[in-house]
Amino acid sequence: MSMILNDEQRMLQKTAREFVAEHAPVAHLRELRDEGDATGFSRGLWKQMAELGWAGIALPEVYGGSELGYAELGVVFEECGRTLAPTPLLSTVVLGAEVLLRAGSEPQQAELLPGVCSGDGILALAFQEAGRFAPYRVATKVTATADGHRLDGEKCFVVDGHVADRLIVVARSSGGEAERDGLSLFLVDPAAPGVEITRTIMADSRNAARVVFDGVTVGEEATLGRVGAAADTLDAVFDRATLALCAEMLGLASEAFERTVAYLKTREQFGAKIGSFQALKHRAATMFCDLELARSITLDGLRAIDEGREELPSLVSAAKARLADTAALVTCEAIQMHGGIGMTDEEEIGFFLKRARTAELFLGDATYHRDRFARLQGF
């Protein structure tokens, strides 16, 4: 598959760029933050995005999707990244829907996926239990009851957890604390007795929640896939979510870079545009190269999903390590090159730094993915 966007993908890119620029510019995120908006994104806007086909872009037609692929979904993520548009794309369309597609029964899929495609249903995958990504480190316990299961434990950084219509919970049915085997997946009603959800306010002004399960009971029909064998599902879901997040990071880093280059061309000191100083030129040119590499690995990774390539996990780790490093470099340099104005809340560039750092740590940072890449490659 060519790494250059085809006509349809370019059209999608244009539509998405214009839509978010008009309806969800950075000012939109600022407004949600300043007003302390209870939802954390605009439900009306999400509905419109779903009507444009973004939510169901890679989902089966039978549930209202258009069965395109991650090459297309990546375009949407990248454009939303450019304006830091807050949407449930990652929580619902990737993390939630991918779990259902892989581990859900037909009735479970039929119940929830149409709502994902139409923009009416929000899903949240509750897996993380500590600050750093460790996919198999799950202490939340599931025990068998007479007619189902009982969940006890605590999750953090559950994206869109406080607005989800349904939670998907990773819990341990057997094995030691960090063991790959023994993980299970359950659908949980957020209103069920024993579920306590607290929205956490993050630096990037995006949604996350702490969720406590205290003796929550679910029936047998709430089980997603085979008990104790969730790791294969999770690996595949995290790989896809990581690449989608990489596409978002590519968009935000590209935008932060372009804004910075534009600033270098307008800001004057010592009687000259600061962009004429070689100390800044070379750093800008270096970032350009880093972004080109970031774009290449992201595009290839997204296509590897669509082509079902076996080397996908290695590409995912190479992509996330590269995007984590590049987005950090670009957003930090963006602040430095903007100087004092870059430190003010009034200037938007700081929003990019905050989102970059959050996205960097979510689903594994560069250190995590370099280690994983080496393991996958046998060293």
Partner: protein
């Protein structure tokens, strides 16, 4: 389309006859006693002679210039068929890769007919007279002078970093033909015979030892005025175009080829990809889980391997873009910069991995790989200097791509 398939069939038949297995490169793992022997060399010489006679060493060039006048589509089919049978590329070198493209673009018909056939069939080896002792990064500051005297230019000055000048037959050379014009506007691009009286060559010893680099001295060398290419004092345009060909070639040589899609086994999903790790394992050892035992060097190795992967994919993306007619000019500076810096990192890391075993200069106590590593590490320092320094590449990106002001 039907014509193209007919061409493919004809090309295949001709290649089967003139490039039988005895005249091809070996496949991985194949051994043949003849490889490298005088008999084998004679076979390869025969192959080169025959394909040059057919004009297929430069297939798209006009027939009167030593080519075969093929269309780009036919040339692509021919390249596919040659790659399929692992035919040895017949002609390489500075003439084919650097000079010929600018001759085709800028030379007059007479010059094309006189110089291109000898490039196409490899009869003349060329060298590149660009850098001077006083003109490195500031190439346009060159001082070698050419003064018109009748129908000849008289050339005085010196060129440095000229690869294989001691073996070259002819030189393409940048000379100053108008000392009073601004520095970019007084330069001409001229061709002359390296056996001309007044030309002398001395090889340069590098920090890594012997090299192909030379310094050339011109003392009253006489070059025919008819061998000035393009417009007098208009050589800078040609010089820059040739540098683009050079930089894309250099970044290609330093690795970063797109990873093969083919898989050898399930265990190694990215084939031929952890050569550094294989090289490092005997020096660093592995822990109980099979990881390289030094976590910091392992992190460095994986970083270089990943960046190499990303760089290779960037080259693929730029070639995908070229196929669809998208501008790729800027990628030349980017890839030259990135490939150079990446190779330096790789070489530094390998020295750290091997320790003092990678600092042996010659003689006993070191494997051939270790001795080559010492030289390779030192030689890599030149990657970011030759063909335009990294700083120059960053300047080009800042100006041409990002549009930052002077």
């Amino acid at each position: 389309m039907a014509d193209l398939e007919q061409f493919r069939a004809d090309a295949r038949a001709w290649l089967d006859e003139h490039c039988p297995p005895t005249r091809r490169q070996l496949r991985e793992g194949e051994t043949a006693p003849a490889w490298g022997s005088p008999e084998f060399d004679a076979q390869i010489e025969g192959w080169k002679r025959e394909i040059c006679e057919r004009g297929w060493s430069a297939p798209t060039w006009p027939r009167e210039c030593g080519g075969a006048g093929l269309s780009p589509e036919e040339a692509k089919v021919l390249a596919q068929e040659m790659a399929r049978i692992r035919a040895v590329p017949p002609i390489g070198g500075f003439g084919m890769y650097l000079l010929a493209p600018v001759l085709l673009e800028f030379a007059n018909d007479d010059q094309k007919k006189r110089f291109l056939p000898d490039i196409a069939n490899g009869r003349v080896d060329w060298c590149q007279g660009y850098s001077e002792p006083g003109a490195g990064s500031d190439l346009a500051g060159l001082q070698t002078r050419a003064v018109l005297d009748g129908d000849e230019y008289v050339i005085d000055g010196s060129k440095i970093w000229t690869t294989s000048a001691h073996l070259a037959d002819w030189i393409f050379c940048l000379v100053r033909t108008d000392p009073d014009a601004s520095k970019h506007e007084g330069i001409s691009f001229i061709l002359f015979d390296m056996k001309s009286p007044g030309v002398s060559v001395s090889p340069i010893q590098l920090i890594s030892g012997q090299s192909d680099f030379c310094q050339i001295f011109f003392d009253g060398v006489r070059a025919k005025a008819e061998n000035l290419v393009g417009v007098k004092n208009g050589g800078w345009t040609i010089a820059k175009r040739l540098l683009q060909h050079e930089r894309s070639g250099l970044s290609g040589m330093m690795g970063g080829a797109a990873p093969s899609r083919k898989r050898k086994s399930g265990k190694r999903p990215l084939p031929n990809f952890h050569s550094m790790a294989d090289l490092a394992a005997p020096y660093l050892g592995r822990d109980a889980e099979g990881r390289l035992a030094d976590p910091f060097l392992r992190d460095g190795i994986v970083g270089v391997e990943m960046d190499n992967l990303c760089f290779g994919l960037t080259m693929k993306r730029s070639s995908d873009g070229a196929k669809e007619g998208q501008e790729v000019g800027h990628t030349v500076s980017m890839s030259k910069y990135y490939a150079s810096e990446l190779n330096k990192r790789r070489q530094e890391l390998l020295v750290s991995v091997m320790g003092t075993q990678a600092l042996g200069w010659e003689g006993e106590g070191f494997s051939a790989t270790e001795l080559a590593q010492t030289r390779g590490w030192l030689r890599s320092k030149g990657n970011s200097i030759e063909g335009g320094t990294s700083e120059i590449q960053l300047n080009v990106i800042a100006k041409r791509v990002l549009g930052l002001p002077d």
